[in-house]
Symmetry: C2
Protein backbone atom coordinates (compact mmCIF):
# COMPACT_ATOMS: atom_id res chain seq x y z
CA UNK A 1 0.00 0.00 0.00
CA UNK A 2 2.97 2.35 0.45
CA UNK A 3 3.54 2.39 -3.30
CA UNK A 4 -0.16 3.02 -3.92
CA UNK A 5 0.01 6.04 -1.62
CA UNK A 6 3.19 7.22 -3.32
CA UNK A 7 1.53 7.16 -6.74
CA UNK A 8 -1.57 8.98 -5.49
CA UNK A 9 0.62 11.58 -3.78
CA UNK A 10 2.60 12.15 -6.96
CA UNK A 11 -0.56 12.69 -8.99
CA UNK A 12 -1.92 15.13 -6.40
CA UNK A 13 1.22 17.12 -5.65
CA UNK A 14 3.04 17.35 -8.96
CA UNK A 15 2.00 19.35 -12.00
CA UNK A 16 2.60 16.33 -14.17
CA UNK A 17 -0.27 14.21 -15.43
CA UNK A 18 1.97 11.14 -15.62
CA UNK A 19 3.42 8.76 -13.05
CA UNK A 20 5.73 5.90 -14.06
CA UNK A 21 5.78 2.71 -11.95
CA UNK A 22 8.94 0.64 -12.51
CA UNK A 23 9.95 -2.74 -11.18
CA UNK A 24 12.52 -5.46 -11.79
CA UNK A 25 12.44 -9.22 -11.32
CA UNK A 26 9.93 -10.63 -8.85
CA UNK A 27 8.73 -7.16 -7.87
CA UNK A 28 7.08 -6.85 -11.29
CA UNK A 29 3.83 -8.40 -10.07
CA UNK A 30 3.68 -5.83 -7.30
CA UNK A 31 4.02 -2.98 -9.81
CA UNK A 32 0.99 -4.38 -11.65
CA UNK A 33 -0.89 -4.63 -8.32
CA UNK A 34 -0.07 -0.99 -7.53
CA UNK A 35 -1.25 0.21 -10.92
CA UNK A 36 -4.48 -1.81 -10.72
CA UNK A 37 -5.30 -0.71 -7.16
CA UNK A 38 -4.65 2.97 -7.96
CA UNK A 39 -6.93 2.82 -11.00
CA UNK A 40 -9.72 0.64 -9.63
CA UNK A 41 -9.99 1.91 -6.09
CA UNK A 42 -8.62 5.43 -5.83
CA UNK A 43 -8.20 7.29 -9.14
CA UNK A 44 -10.69 6.01 -11.73
CA UNK A 45 -9.74 8.80 -14.14
CA UNK A 46 -6.20 7.39 -14.43
CA UNK A 47 -5.44 5.14 -17.40
CA UNK A 48 -2.52 2.99 -18.41
CA UNK A 49 -0.78 5.02 -21.13
CA UNK A 50 1.86 2.42 -21.92
CA UNK A 51 3.57 -0.69 -20.60
CA UNK A 52 7.11 -1.53 -21.67
CA UNK A 53 9.18 -4.59 -20.79
CA UNK A 54 12.93 -4.82 -21.08
CA UNK A 55 15.94 -6.78 -19.87
CA UNK A 56 18.52 -5.17 -17.63
CA UNK A 57 21.95 -6.42 -16.65
CA UNK A 58 22.38 -6.35 -12.91
CA UNK A 59 25.82 -7.06 -11.39
CA UNK A 60 26.08 -10.03 -9.03
CA UNK A 61 28.27 -10.01 -5.93
CA UNK A 62 31.02 -11.92 -7.74
CA UNK A 63 31.21 -9.30 -10.53
CA UNK A 64 29.36 -11.31 -13.18
CA UNK A 65 26.10 -10.02 -14.60
CA UNK A 66 22.57 -11.38 -14.35
CA UNK A 67 19.87 -10.58 -16.91
CA UNK A 68 16.75 -9.38 -15.12
CA UNK A 69 13.38 -8.52 -16.65
CA UNK A 70 11.94 -5.10 -15.95
CA UNK A 71 8.54 -3.49 -16.44
CA UNK A 72 7.54 0.17 -16.74
CA UNK A 73 3.89 1.16 -16.43
CA UNK A 74 3.09 4.76 -17.38
CA UNK A 75 -0.10 5.98 -15.72
CA UNK A 76 -1.80 9.08 -17.09
CA UNK A 77 -4.63 11.25 -15.77
CA UNK B 1 12.22 -22.66 -19.83
CA UNK B 2 9.18 -24.86 -20.48
CA UNK B 3 7.08 -21.81 -21.23
CA UNK B 4 9.78 -20.42 -23.50
CA UNK B 5 9.74 -23.67 -25.46
CA UNK B 6 5.93 -23.61 -25.56
CA UNK B 7 5.92 -20.12 -27.10
CA UNK B 8 8.57 -21.03 -29.68
CA UNK B 9 6.65 -24.20 -30.57
CA UNK B 10 3.43 -22.27 -31.01
CA UNK B 11 5.10 -19.78 -33.35
CA UNK B 12 6.65 -22.60 -35.38
CA UNK B 13 3.69 -24.97 -35.57
CA UNK B 14 0.65 -22.74 -35.83
CA UNK B 15 -0.37 -20.60 -38.76
CA UNK B 16 -0.92 -17.68 -36.45
CA UNK B 17 1.62 -14.88 -36.17
CA UNK B 18 0.55 -14.15 -32.60
CA UNK B 19 1.12 -15.85 -29.27
CA UNK B 20 -0.43 -14.50 -26.05
CA UNK B 21 1.36 -15.07 -22.74
CA UNK B 22 -0.96 -14.69 -19.74
CA UNK B 23 -0.25 -14.78 -16.02
CA UNK B 24 -1.89 -13.92 -12.74
CA UNK B 25 -0.51 -12.82 -9.38
CA UNK B 26 3.10 -13.64 -8.60
CA UNK B 27 3.52 -15.53 -11.87
CA UNK B 28 3.37 -12.20 -13.72
CA UNK B 29 7.12 -11.67 -13.46
CA UNK B 30 7.68 -15.06 -15.06
CA UNK B 31 5.48 -14.14 -18.02
CA UNK B 32 7.68 -11.08 -18.57
CA UNK B 33 10.79 -13.30 -18.31
CA UNK B 34 9.34 -15.70 -20.91
CA UNK B 35 8.54 -12.89 -23.33
CA UNK B 36 11.98 -11.30 -22.89
CA UNK B 37 13.88 -14.59 -23.30
CA UNK B 38 11.90 -15.56 -26.42
CA UNK B 39 12.59 -12.19 -28.03
CA UNK B 40 16.20 -11.67 -26.99
CA UNK B 41 17.56 -15.19 -27.31
CA UNK B 42 15.45 -17.22 -29.70
CA UNK B 43 13.14 -15.24 -31.97
CA UNK B 44 14.54 -11.74 -32.59
CA UNK B 45 11.87 -11.04 -35.23
CA UNK B 46 9.14 -11.28 -32.57
CA UNK B 47 7.89 -8.02 -31.05
CA UNK B 48 5.59 -7.14 -28.18
CA UNK B 49 2.36 -6.09 -29.90
CA UNK B 50 0.53 -5.14 -26.71
CA UNK B 51 0.56 -5.55 -22.95
CA UNK B 52 -2.68 -5.34 -20.98
CA UNK B 53 -3.16 -5.49 -17.22
CA UNK B 54 -6.42 -6.25 -15.47
CA UNK B 55 -7.88 -7.40 -12.18
CA UNK B 56 -9.62 -10.77 -11.90
CA UNK B 57 -11.76 -12.12 -9.09
CA UNK B 58 -10.54 -15.54 -8.01
CA UNK B 59 -12.62 -17.59 -5.53
CA UNK B 60 -10.94 -18.53 -2.27
CA UNK B 61 -11.47 -21.88 -0.55
CA UNK B 62 -14.06 -20.36 1.80
CA UNK B 63 -16.16 -19.05 -1.11
CA UNK B 64 -15.15 -15.38 -0.81
CA UNK B 65 -13.34 -13.69 -3.68
CA UNK B 66 -9.83 -12.33 -3.94
CA UNK B 67 -8.86 -9.62 -6.44
CA UNK B 68 -5.77 -10.74 -8.36
CA UNK B 69 -3.82 -8.76 -10.94
CA UNK B 70 -3.28 -10.30 -14.35
CA UNK B 71 -1.07 -9.52 -17.32
CA UNK B 72 -1.42 -10.41 -21.01
CA UNK B 73 1.53 -10.01 -23.34
CA UNK B 74 0.73 -10.39 -27.05
CA UNK B 75 3.81 -11.39 -29.05
CA UNK B 76 3.75 -10.93 -32.82
CA UNK B 77 6.07 -12.13 -35.58
Amino acid sequence: MNYVLAVITQFNNSKSDEVVVKARGRAISRAVDVSEIVRNRFLPTVNVASIVTSTEEVPRDDGSKAAVSSLEITLRK
